[in-house]
Amino acid sequence: MNESLHLWLIPLLPFVGFLLNGLIGSRLPKRIVSSIGLLAPLASFLMVVNAAAATMITAAKSCAQCGPAVSVTLPYTETLAHPWLNIGNLHVDFSLVLDQLSLVMLLVVTGVGFLIHVYSVGYMADEDGYARFFSYLNLFMFFMTVLVLAGNVLFMFLGWEGVGLVSYLLVGFYFSKTSAADAGKKAFVVNRIGDFGFLIGIFLLLANFGTLTFTEIAARFRPSNTMNVFFENGAIVLNHATNSLPSVGVITVTCLCLLLGAAGKSAQLPLYVWLPDAMEGPTPVSALIHAATMVTAGVYMICRLHVLFDHAPFALAIVAIVGTATALFAATIGLVQTDIKRVLAYSTISQLGYMFLACGVAAYSAAIFHLVTHAFFKALLFLSAGAVIHAMGGEQDMRKMGGLRKKLPVTFASMTAGVLAICGIAPFAGFFSKDAILYAAFLRGPGGKLLWFVGLVTALLTALYMFRLWYLTFWGEPRTENRSEAAHRHSTPLSMLVPLVILALLSLCGGWIGIDHFAAFLSPSVGAPSTASAGNDALELLLSVLAVAVALIGWFIAYQLYLRKPERPAQIAAAHPGAYKLLANKYYGDEIYGAIVVKPLFAFSKYALGGVELLLSGVAWLLAGTASLAGMILQRWQSGNLRSYAAWLAAGAAAILLFVLILHGKQADPAQFLHGTQIFGMGR
């Protein structure tokens, strides 16, 4: 019994919500807008749960008389009867594929997405553009689920671009604020660079594989069956593969192009610059798009196309290096930021770096595991930060907070859960996933040891900056006078607290499923973890203990610096002014890009604009001149003089006569003019 799961409803329901709220939402009462905005993602989430249940039933199909439930086997595909593109050999369908990978991703996207929708009801209650906000959020859910469910690269790209668009719209939600509008543009432009790489990658895929469907691409690699052999001994499979596959060089270039796309979307070096600025958007947006779901699309894409990366060891190594470098880089910047949301933004970049590291060591299930736990705890952290900001009446500077744990007990508890989870303190969610990544990196040869070490240092820094945030915000004494009034004015509504509690529970327990179960579940989609057999339990335990110890050290340092001796950080900063300035200015990343890319481009565009204007005005002048000249000549025809009209008439008739005579005169004998049969077609 293989009935339809109606996967197409999962993206479509939020789209309907978008249309309703977008078109008539501003005229509806707030209550109805909220209902539409919440019901759409809730319905999607229920569809996903239904799909998940259907697959589980298949897994335990011994229960034959369980009732008329729909049961399916993964991967399960739904294709629209009408093809999207049908050009020559290129055949692209609107196909939706549900497999283990997309199922996990969908549960995260719709589940966490729905919670954040609920949170938004409270958070955005007093804001203008309430309906616009919810219509954008629903549109995001539409594009994100399309991205996740897409069965081919091009359809995925559609969702990919769509979430980029919504990101732009929501970062610039307060469009009357210049900085927000600029941040939106920056996010869009930087993503465009990444998307350029993605597009080139798609073209390369099409040129070398002749198909864009994920399953068909994967099928091309199937003869060279053992990925494990490949990791240890690349040359064997490489020779084995060349007879039917594109060369390793081509695959490597394709993968690097795709990596550029992933780096753009997931804010990795060198395209990370947009994400911190994207914090100009409302906090639920930061939680949903810029922490939990959209920015992980790059990781998802690499996992989705992992067969390619598996056959391009060089590209895989680059992925690992980019991820590790980004993790460390962003963590160091996060140490000195004072804006609570920016700390979290750099932390997001850093955690995404972990996921890239996991992809780079071919531990895809660990990457997805970290993606899931990260979605829980980072959404939680952002929403808690949002609750703090809400209570502070819009204040985001941590230096002006402090002592909030009494005023905001629930927020304090949820933030604590999030901080413990992200720092990898056992037994919280982040511990399991980060541990899995570091373990996988450690097992990957001597280079992997280096990656592991950098990852460990990053874990230390993560604990340091997260506990810094925690201490600065919730402990110590209040650092502004009017804070208590503000806290009274903005008590946290229930719609904000419930998602916090649920996410806190998920951050606590989300990791308990264990990487082994998770990897086993995902293995049909992303392949069995290559390193599972190589290590042993004692080593894993040792590494775990080490990671937790490092996190505790970070906590201890933060405790010393930000609670015991609050004057120490300033002294340290004063002692190392160069280093502090470098970090506070984010390694001058924006300035460097400004000098290298933006300024020259700006200057060039100015000249180009001059040239284009000259060209355009020249062409316009030419066209206008031609037209008016023609008009001046032709208007003499319309003189109003009867005899000139008659003259033209006669001349025209004479011309036609002449034409016909010349045309037919060739055939007609002049002598037969009178008796001829051809003149004017008369005759016979």
Binding site: G640, N641, L642, R643, A646, A647, A650, F673, L674, M682
Partner: protein, 106 residues
Amino acid sequence: MNFLQHDVPLSWYLLLSAALFSLGVVGFLIKRNLITVFMSIELMLNAVNLSFVTFAYQWNEVKGQIFVFFVMMVAAAEAAVGLAIIIAVYRARSTLSVDRIDLMKL
């Protein structure tokens, strides 16, 4: 009938017709007086009539001659209407020069 066939070739009739038609065209184009222009039109119509008759004779067809009667009838009607218009124009403008009658409204 014989003299037509033997003494005067058909081409002469056509040439005469062409000459008359050309005279009509030229008169239409160069004359300014509305009545002369009108007469030139009549001349053209009759030149065409002549060639109709000639061809009708050549092909032994009666259609051409019937056509001529139609043309004459229309020309008569046209003369009646046209002359009435000319008189009306003269009354309104006190002139019959076509160059000065170049506005539809008064």
